[in-house]
């Protein structure tokens, strides 16, 4: 027995010796699954072109990530499905008439410029899909700032809300998606179904989505608008534009949002406030994606400021520590 055993060599690893099955790939797959009702509704509303866009954009992102890492002789990371998710999310915030080639250009910008140049997954500081959209909107504003359905251009619901003509869509139409808009943004109902799945699978937490949507609701409720009831106005602000989709799927992007608990709430409130600021006072009816990009840039600072109170430290001690730290800094400066 001994002779046989002596030849055995064992691995030595530090604890824990077991890990959860839910790895990065599984999380990304969960995001893809969560978008299924949204994609399904988009295809139902806008036809097969929407599906073609989704598939080609996912393929484009995966290809660019593979090619970039191949050319630079880095490890191939397309297995983690994060590139596919970026391609999918990018299409969700584009209008249905977007040509396929345009989406692929957006893919290139999102994957190569925004994500890979900064080191790949987890390292980018801007949301790749939203940055890709912002890039496309700036480059092809004539094509992408309107929504065309069956060859007919229609103004977006937000255009009506903040424009001169009255809003032709009822609240129910906005909620269930009988409105023009980007492929993934129209049906709040489908988006909420996806969100429920993500939260049930613990892929995301409620903190960011709830604080984004809650803030948009609260600000528009307080702000109001002539010709609308407060509730109607606030709910239209939440449902008719991009707040639902971007607040749930984009603002919660891991790499570009804070990881601290209070930080996530501050970040979400910040997005909500900026969105409403842009909507009320900006020249652009849809504000949420830019609000998220701006808050992305604040993520690091927010996390640093939202240091957690660790176990065994009472609230008063924690505050005392904080002020002591501040005073020490002040002294060091003077």
């Amino acid at each position: 027995m001994n002779e046989k055993n002596e030849r055995m060599i064992f691995d030595v690893t530090y604890q824990p010796q077991v890990r959860t099955v839910r790895d990065t790939q599984r999380i990304m797959l969960d995001v893809i699954i969560a978008t299924l009702p949204i994609v399904g509704f988009g295809v139902y509303r806008f036809g097969w072109h929407a599906l073609l866009l989704v598939v080609s954009s996912m393929a484009g992102c995966v290809f660019f990530e593979w090619a970039y890492r191949r050319l630079l002789k880095k490890s191939i990371t397309i297995d983690d499905l994060s590139a596919a998710v970026t391609g999918l999310l990018l299409v969700m915030v584009l209008p249905p008439q977007t040509p396929v080639w345009m989406a692929v250009i957006g893919d290139f910008f999102a994957i190569v410029i925004v994500k890979q140049l900064y080191g790949g997954i987890g390292k980018n500081f801007l949301n790749p899909a939203l940055a890709g959209r912002a890039f496309l909107t700036a480059s092809y504003s004539g094509v992408l700032t309107v929504v065309m359905i069956d060859g007919v251009t229609s103004a977006t619901p937000l255009g009506y809300l903040y424009g001169d003509s009255p809003m032709p869509y009822t609240l129910a139409q906005s909620f269930f998606g009988a409105i023009p808009g980007s492929i993934g943004e129209i049906s709040s109902f489908a988006i909420l179904a996806g969100a429920a799945y993500l939260i049930a699978r613990k892929v995301i937490r409620w903190r960011i989505p709830l604080s984004v949507i809650g803030t948009v609701f609260a600000v528009s409720f307080l702000g109001g608008h002539a010709g609308y009831g407060r509730f109607e106005w606030a709910l239209q602000n939440v449902c008719a534009g991009g707040v639902m989709f971007t607040g749930i799927f984009m603002a919660t992007d891991y790499a570009t949002s804070p990881v601290t608990i209070s930080g996530q709430i501050i970040y979400g409130i910040g997005i909500g406030l900026l969105t409403m600021l842009i909507r009320y006072f900006g020249g652009y009816a849809e504000g949420c994606s830019y609000a998220i990009l701006i808050m992305n840039l604040c993520t690091w600072a927010i996390d640093k400021a939202c240091h957690r109170r660790q176990f065994g430290v009472s609230r008063s001690d924690f505050l005392a520590q904080k002020t002591a730290g501040k005073n020490a800094k002040k002294e060091a400066v003077s």
């Binding site: 027995m1 030595v12 604890q15 010796q17 959860t20 990065t24 804070p258 601290t260 065994g312 430290v313």
Partner: protein
């Protein structure tokens, strides 16, 4: 009542309390390490050629933080030399050739008067070599005596939150009366009135049984706790049962608590009522490399190869030997190593349990922060560790990490977080020691 601590994870428990307890016959040779506790190692009291009896004391130290060791079989001492210890080193050990007689040398059971005397109980706990049998192996007598005057609440840890391990659960089911008497002794020794017994709800049968056997009569309040890892962590247990939080760098006694494990309480019973020293314990043997889980009573000093053989041999080639539970258990390097008093589990793992990746990349999902029971920020701590930024590591309280492994367990990117924090702590300690030495040298210089 039950307060809640933040964070925690739900590992795949894979417990097997339904597997009946078996007794593994003692091996032809046992190897008794002289260090089976935290603190000063013992000096062997026997030499080669001596005859020893089962339960006989064979190693002792005069240091306060220590616990004597005892022979787990009767027979002849064939060697007193360094042998592989489960923790990896070669440790001075007494090797005993088993004569298969199990000739006992018991201590006198305590008299009814002594059973009421804290000092007598404490002396017996020390004499019997009782240590924290949950795995930490801290000498119990020292723990109790050092907490006197500060401790107002005794906590018995029956969470057994580690996957696979069943020893505490089965002890509750098998010896409820003995266990309750052991707890009563610990309470008398500690000199307190209040005893909480925290048991996770996945052991409802044990909770019911202990209540039926009159836990309340002994002044013990059994508190069912939610099943979440690391419920059995000392700090989490105190928080759950009393709402108190141990201060960073502080001890349980600092908040008036003393925590001892279920199996330790049973060992106290055996020491006082039966005069038995700690020479065996219940070990869960499991993992994908062995046939099936076994809950076996195993003598201290039995080597792992022999145990594997006794439970049916390897069905697959093991890649890892894990001592204790898989969340906090460490790896042994050889099958020659032996069980000690704190070995609650012996897991033989293959590739099946392995979920590490070659190039882990953090995706900043923040799950580590959500699950950290100490409310730390592992992802940032890891970044500062990579940069060797000690100032920030201290600011982010890496020294508070209890190394429960929750963050690493939950990490979808498979980052080696707990490992990094352990290393970071050691680096900080080394750095502090260096600085202290430098300051002392400077002070000396100044005095000249």
């Amino acid at each position: 009542m039950a307060f809640k601590f933040k964070g925690g994870v739900h590992p795949d428990y894979r417990k097997s309390p339904e597997v009946p307890v078996t007794v593994i016959a003692p091996p032809p040779q046992v190897v008794i390490p002289m260090a089976q506790h935290i603190g000063a190692p013992c000096t062997p009291l026997v030499k080669k050629g001596d005859t020893v009896k089962m339960y006989q004391k064979i190693g002792e130290s005069a240091a306060p933080v220590s616990a004597p060791v005892h022979a787990s079989v009767s027979g002849t001492v064939v060697a007193v030399e360094p042998r592989p210890h489960p923790l990896g080193d070669l440790i001075m050990s007494v090797v005993i050739e088993n004569d298969y007689q199990d000739t006992p040398e018991l201590m006198e059971p305590l008299t009814p008067a002594q059973l009421k005397d804290p000092e007598a109980i404490l002396r017996r706990i020390r004499e019997a070599g009782v240590v924290g049998m949950g795995g930490a192996m801290f000498p119990t007598a020292f723990k109790i005596s050092s907490g006197r005057g500060k401790v107002d609440t005794l906590i018995i840890n029956g969470a057994e939150c580690e996957p696979y391990i069943n020893g505490d659960h089965l002890t509750m089911l098998q010896y409820p009366d003995e266990l309750l008497k052991g707890i009563e002794l610990a309470r008398i020794a500690q000199g307190v009135e209040k005893v909480y017994y925290g048991i996770e709800k996945n052991k409802q049968d044990a909770i019911d049984l202990l209540n039926a056997h009159g836990a309340a009569k002994y002044g013990i309040e059994i508190v069912p706790e939610s099943t979440i890892y690391p419920q059995g962590g000392e700090k989490m247990q105190i928080k759950t049962l009393t709402g108190r939080e141990v201060k960073p760098g502080g001890l349980p006694a600092g908040v008036g608590c003393c925590v001892i494990s279920t199996r330790t309480a049973y060992a106290i019973y055996q020491a006082c009522y039966e005069g038995k020293s700690v020479i065996e314990r219940i070990v869960t043997v499991a993992g994908s490399a062995v046939k099936g889980p076994a809950n076996a009573v195993i003598r201290v000093g039995t080597n792992f190869g022999y145990i594997a053989e006794q439970v049916g041999g390897f069905v697959r080639t093991p890649r890892k030997i894990v001592l204790g539970g898989p969340m906090m258990g460490i790896c042994a390097t050889t099958l020659e190593a032996v069980t000690v008093k704190g070995t609650a589990g012996l897991l033989f793992f293959t590739e099946e349990e392995d979920r590490t990746v070659e190039e882990p990349v953090c995706i900043r999902c923040g799950k580590c922060i959500n699950v950290c029971p100490m409310r730390l920020e592992p992802t940032y701590m890891y970044q500062y560790y990579k940069k060797r930024n000690f100032e920030m590591l201290e600011k982010y309280h890496v020294t508070d990490c209890i190394e429960c492994g929750s963050c690493t367990f939950r990490c979808p990117a498979r980052m080696p977080l707990t490992h990094a924090f352990k290393t970071a702590k050691l680096m900080l300690q080394a750095r502090a020691a260096k600085e202290k030495a430098r300051a002392e040298a400077a002070a000396k210089e100044a005095r000249k």
